[in-house]
Symmetry: C2
Subunit: 382 residues, 2 copies
């Protein structure tokens, strides 16, 4: 496994800074942000004649949300899918590929904005969630009706706009090339799987289904497929990669993506909110099916410890849990060896994911980057 | 103006049955439904491996919602845009155009499903709204959490799926042709304007802004542009129509589409729920900006009738209005001559719309169909 620079292991550091330098790639996250900025600059001009208020209150806020955003995980994996598939690191083809992979961030804006509405999350990246911003504008303007309902409705519309404009951005990026047909299958799968993953998550919460198969299924669909495997496939398809390279990338992506979700689950209970930007325990409060909880529940049963099982079952889906309660649940899951089991599972997925790179026909740069990205999935948790 | 068959004037009859027979067009609404059915048949197979539960609970319900649906207004205008633009009425080109115009129904499924969530509407086309269906499934399954929130969340996801799949259906329809670039501008405008129109509507309700300029602005954006003008432009662009034909269609569409919305506003107060499929007075209860109410408020002021103005202002946005209250408001608006003013405005728009057809280079079949469609906009209200 390639050496990972110490700075790259800091979970608070943008993931896009992790890949080892690629000639012509001064900073992937910055490049993605620039592509998104260019797209919005062009589209804001087009939206203004539609209605200045729409442009100012929906388009501008969506733009800010998207530009401030996150770790650019999906464009990063898509870019390295492109490079692993033989796409060049610079030149006009690379510039078009960069614009195409940046469109994945618009799908993600839709997913995050609407997830926050559905989960009733007050914050995102340490800032008020978009539906809260709109509700606050309603409240401070003393407008008519329910601020909550107004905020949620306008946020859903901002998400719709992001989803529709993702297709427009892809279309612009691939205009005049023969690449549209190539990326059709992964592009479609990505959008549908984003929606299906969110549905399964809601459904499992409503069913109070915190079983291991369900937890793994949601992790596979919502994170591994939508966020890692399909972006890799998308990038490779864009480059016209052969079926062997695509298969290796997808297998790697499925394993690494699942590991990435397991790490996220662990950070959600044991992480430092100052570093992760989100409060601990939300998955438990919302009753989300995580492997960590599912294993904990099974271990409590196996150990014949009804008190532990009752504590866990009582915590799942309880919106009133305090941080101290969450830490107590975390300690119990540690005691039940659920945490160590998830860490072991994560390591096994990482090893399996890296094994798929071994025989694959990738250039050294791409292989090193993919290795580093996989390492990031388990950073600070080994 | 072409003769309109008596049956075509029945507002309960599908609009798609209105156009005079086009050789090779046995029934536009049926053809659209068949295209949608074919698309869903292919996609359900693709969704099932994603997750059988998603396929059964989201895809299948979206399919039923879309197939049962409505008057197919947008595909109808798009089809006649295609014919007016010189597209053939039968043959492989026509079949592809029919598939492309049918994709507009998926954008509309998204709009309707999410509108019902935002407005809290309990029914759609006389059936429970989709979010109510999901809430009921949650309730009858004794699931965890709030049935209302679950129902709204899953309905929003079903709407997202419709929006994403609209692009896929268009992409399938135009695969292997050079038409994608041609329809880019109207396709993009249609999706953005659907979202912008819904935002403006929510915003005007929150601002309690029932002014004439706002009412006309929402009607122009939400109905005239999204439902009529852009579909016509889309169909004409698909056929490769010249700029003169496109300009005539757009001007016709803007006028007729606005008239169509004014008719809808009138039906919302004076219509027969058994024929329209929706309760009377919802626009008033929700505080939607309609020209009817805006003119009524102005007339009450002009007449120096503070009691009438108070009655109207008190009714706007009052969810507790009974049907008898709505009928009393309707009588008051009649008395204030607001109803007759809207009818006159509608007739003027119709005349202006038809005048745009006069010099346009359309075949007689297309001109007759567009004339009949315009006539339908004011049917039973003259």
């Amino acid at each position: 496994m390639a050496a990972i620079r110490p700075g790259a292991l800091d979970p608070a550091r943008p993931l896009a800074a992790v890949p080892p330098g690629d000639p012509g790639d001064p900073g992937l996250a910055e490049s993605v942000a620039r592509c998104l900025n260019d797209f919005f600059t062009a589209r804001r001009g087009a939206a203004d004649p539609t209605d200045p208020r729409f442009d100012g209150e929906v388009v501008a806020r969506l733009e800010r949300f998207t530009l401030l955003g996150g770790k650019r995980i999906r464009p990063t994996f898509a870019w390295w899918g492109w490079r692993a598939g033989g796409g060049p690191g610079s030149g006009p083809g690379a510039a078009a590929a960069l614009r195409a992979v940046s469109a994945l961030e618009l799908i993600q804006s839709c997913a995050l904005i609407q997830d926050d509405v559905m989960d009733g999350s007050p914050t995102r990246r340490g800032q008020p969630a978009l539906h809260r911003e709109y509700a606050e504008a309603h409240r401070s303007g003393s407008l008519r009706g329910s601020p909550r309902r107004y905020g949620e409705s306008v946020a859903v519309l901002a998400g719709d706009l992001a989803l529709a404009w993702a297709d427009d951005m892809l279309d612009d990026a691939l205009d005049g090339t023969d690449r549209r047909a190539r990326v059709r299958a992964p592009w479609r799968a990505m959008r549908t799987e984003m929606i299906a993953g969110q549905f399964l998550d809601l459904h499992a919460q409503a069913q109070a289904d915190v079983s291991e198969p369900t937890a793994l299924r949601v992790a596979r669909l919502k994170t591994a497929a939508y966020s890692v495997e399909r972006p890799l496939e998308f990038g490779a398809a864009l480059a016209g990669a052969g079926s062997g390279a695509v298969a290796a990338l997808r297998s790697y992506g499925s394993d690494v993506g699942t590991a990435y979700q397991l790490r996220d689950d662990l950070l959600g209970v044991y992480g430092d909110p100052a570093a992760t930007g989100k409060p601990i325990g939300d998955d438990i409060r919302e009753g989300k099916p995580t492997l960590l909880l599912a294993i904990g529940l099974r271990r409590a049963r196996e150990r014949g410890d009804p008190a532990a099982a009752d504590t866990l079952r009582g915590a799942v889906g309880d919106p009133g849990l305090t941080d101290a309660d969450v830490r107590a649940v975390g300690a119990l899951l540690d005691d039940l060896a659920a945490r160590s089991a998830v860490e072991a599972h994560m390591r096994a997925l990482l090893d399996s994911g890296l094994a798929h790179l071994a025989g694959a026909p990738f250039a050294a740069t791409a292989r090193d980057a993919l290795t580093a990205l996989a390492g990031h999935a388990v950073a600070r948790l080994r």
